[in-house]
Every structure is written in C-alpha cells, then in structure tokens.
C-alpha cells in the first residue's frame, strides 16, 4: 500500500504537482497500474489541492481512463459509421463470442478487455480492430480468431502446457529463437 502511495507521489512530482497536468498524471497512473485505483484519485486530489469530484469528472470523462482493472491486452472495436456499414457489429459479436465477454468488460482470465469506439479516424481501412495499439484493418470474422490468438497464445501455453500441440509450438518457438 505504502509503495503504491510513493509510486503515485513520484508520478505527481514528475509533473510538478500542477493542476494543469492532471490529465498527464492520471495517464501515468493508468499506465503504471493499468487502471485508476480509487485511493490514487484521492491522493491526486489532495496533492493538487482540487476537489475529488473534479478529478473523478476528468477520470470518468475520458475513455483512456478506467476505474476498474483492465485486462493485459486492450481489444478495441470501431463501431463508427464507415465500420458499421462494413459489418463491424458482426465482428464485435464474433469477438464477444470468442472471448466470452460482453463489450466493455474483462475476460475471466484477465487477458483481454473488450471495448468499443465510436470512430477511430481511419475509416479507409475499416472495419478496424485495435489490439494493444496495433491497428488491424479490413477486419473480417475469419481474421478475428488469428488476431486474438496472436496475443493469447504465449500466455496460455506458458501457464498450462497441457496440449501437446501447444508445447510443440513452444518448442518450435524456442528452436527458432536459438537459430
């Protein structure tokens, strides 16, 4: 707990403890903790000398912030007009099915957070799926599984190397690295 406090304090000090740097401070905390713990918001409000409700107003306004812990990987599906007419809704449904989680929630294993966006500004390559900041353009239902697997596989095989096929790929991966 105390270490968390010093960690947050160092982030506040990094921005000179100025009110105008509130968003920057919150962004750093979000990056450091992968979410904004309630205690951190109280601490920020106290350090910057502003009411807690104003800090929360900012923290709940921007989509970059989350008050609940996020999964390891951020999966963002664009549902803007251009993506919508090219079937973004069906892609979202497919991802919801694959991850077994509704939009805006974390998967049970804490690997993914599924979010939707109104428009990402790259309509030309729509429908767009963004995983950990990597834009996957011209997404289709068929492409969804490989994209997700790319982020899921190393973790899954590392944790429980049950299936023979998975261990094989792991070995293959090691061999490739040695070469």
């Amino acid at each position: 707990m105390d270490t968390d406090k010093t960690r947050i304090q160092s982030l506040i000090d990094k921005h000179q403890g100025l009110k105008k740097n509130l968003v920057a401070i919150l962004l750093d905390i979000q990056e450091s903790f992968n979410y904004l713990p309630p205690e951190s918001l109280r601490q920020v409000a106290k350090a910057l000398g502003m009411p807690l409700i104003d800090v929360l107003g900012v923290a709940t306004f921007y989509r970059a912030f989350s008050l609940r812990p996020r999964g390891k990987h951020m999966c963002l599906v664009c549902l803007g007009t251009a993506c919508h007419v090219r079937g973004a809704q069906k892609i979202l449904e497919e991802i919801e099915r694959k991850l077994d989680v509704p939009a805006g929630e974390n998967t049970k294993d804490g690997q993914f957070t599924l979010e939707t966006a109104a428009c990402l500004g790259c309509c030309a390559i729509g429908p767009v799926v963004v995983v950990d900041g990597a834009y996957q353009g011209h997404a289709t239902i068929r492409k969804v599984a490989p994209i997700l697997d790319k982020y899921r596989k190393p973790k899954a095989s590392g944790k429980r190397p049950k299936a023979a096929a998975k261990t094989a790929t792991r070995k293959g991966g090691r061999a490739a690295r040695k070469k």
Binding site: P38, P51, L52, I53, L56, G57, T60, F61
Partner: protein, 227 residues
C-alpha cells in the same frame, strides 16, 4: 449604458448585463431552468433561447449567457423561439416526467404530446445543484461524471461524500425534485392538467371541492372519489 432593441422597443442595459437580465428588468418573462441568481451561468437547459439579428440571418442564442451589446436586436417570443422551447420541454419531459416545474411549463407552452420514450431519470442535467454546492456552499461534493448519454450528477464513487454536510441546497434549487401533482392522469408522461383553466372537480362534482382555485387544480379530490 448599452442601448439595444428588445421586441421592437429601444431599451437600455447596464454594462455587464446579459440579455436575460435586461429582459427581466423590463418585465419580460423568459423561462429558464438552469439560471439562478448568485450562480454562474451555465446555458444548459436551452429554454431561455431568444432570436437575435434580423430575420434572414437571425440566430437562436441562450439569453442567460449572451451579453447585452449595443445595437443588438432581440426578439424573445417568435415562432422559431417557441418551437425550440417546446422541443426542449418535450425532450426534458421525456427524461423527467415526474417534475412539476416541467409539467407546468408544458401546459404553459402548449406541449400536448411527448413523442419520446419516457426514461424516468428525474434529472435534466441543468447543473444547478453542482453549482450551488461549489459556489455557495463551498462543499464541492457533487459533480458531473461520465459523458454523452451516460452523463450523470453524482458524488465521488457514488458514495456518501465526506465534503457533503447534508445542507440540502442541491434539492432546494433542483427544478425536477418537486414532484408533479398526482392528478387523475398521473400514469402518462404528460399531465396537461393545467392546460385547461376549468377546475377538474367540476367534471365529477356539482360544487367546486376546494377553495384554493389555482392550487386546488390538483385533482386529488377526484382521485379520492375514484378509489
């Protein structure tokens, strides 16, 4: 002194007055829900809309935030203004049909139908409570959270705030906290009980049942007789 034209009449406003203050000074009634003396202007309810400029290039602006300018031509009650106000009342009624203030406004402006699905959220996000809490009570216990259709007014983390002293100022200024009178048609989103000036009692009784006249048009007596 600033000279401007209000509904065709030349009027004088003091430096720093808004159009709304000028109109109120000359006895013109402009409906508003988010304006309160002693609080900063918000311009959120859009009920105080007035038309400025000459017709082909006229604009609708919120009079509570628009400063009185020299030579400004303001018209407070045109067709366009009333249409906009009716629309706003209809929209707000669909969010908070339980509000007496809104129901009265609907009757006054002749809003006879609500075309939107009632949401019963009982908050029109006028921000009066937020401002009185921060500016007059110096507590800053409540504020806006989220955005878009999720926007709401709440305490931090939706819990009892440490800053809140339970002074009740937020409820005092709230335009939708006062519940509408529970008349005979209380089930619908729109009451319109005050639309006609006939007392409701006379449809069911020979004599007027209460001598409160305007206040007695609540229909309580009729409801009691029915049940």
């Amino acid at each position: 002194m600033i000279e401007l034209i209000l509904n065709g009449l030349p009027v004088k406003a003091e430096e720093g007055w808004t159009v709304l203050e000028t109109a109120n000074f000359y006895g013109l009634e402009i409906p508003t829900l988010c304006h309160h003396e002693g609080l900063t202007e918000f311009g959120g309810c859009r009920l105080c809309l007035v038309e400025i400029g000459e017709p082909p290039k006229s604009n609708l602006v919120t009079s509570c935030t628009y400063p009185a300018e020299a030579g400004l031509v303001v018209r407070t009650d045109t067709n366009r203004v009333w249409a906009a106000r009716r629309m706003m009342i209809e929209l707000m009624l669909s969010v908070a049909p339980g509000s007496k203030v809104l129901q009265d406004l609907a009757s006054k402006f002749g809003v006879t139908k609500v075309r939107f699905t009632p949401r019963n959220e009982e908050c029109i996000l006028c921000g009066l409570c937020v401002r009185i809490c921060a500016e007059q009570m110096d507590a800053k216990a409540i504020g806006f959270q989220q955005r878009g259709h999720k926007r709401k007014i709440s305490t931090p983390f939706d819990m009892r705030s440490e800053e809140c002293r339970l002074c009740g100022a937020c409820m005092y200024v709230c335009p939708v906290c006062q519940l509408r009178c529970q008349g005979p048609n209380a089930e619908t989103a729109l009451c319109n009980g005050c639309l006609t000036m006939d007392p409701t009692c006379l449809e069911h009784y020979d004599d007027l049942q209460c001598w409160m006249y305007d206040a007695g048009r609540c229909g309580t007596c009729v409801r009691e007789k029915k049940s």
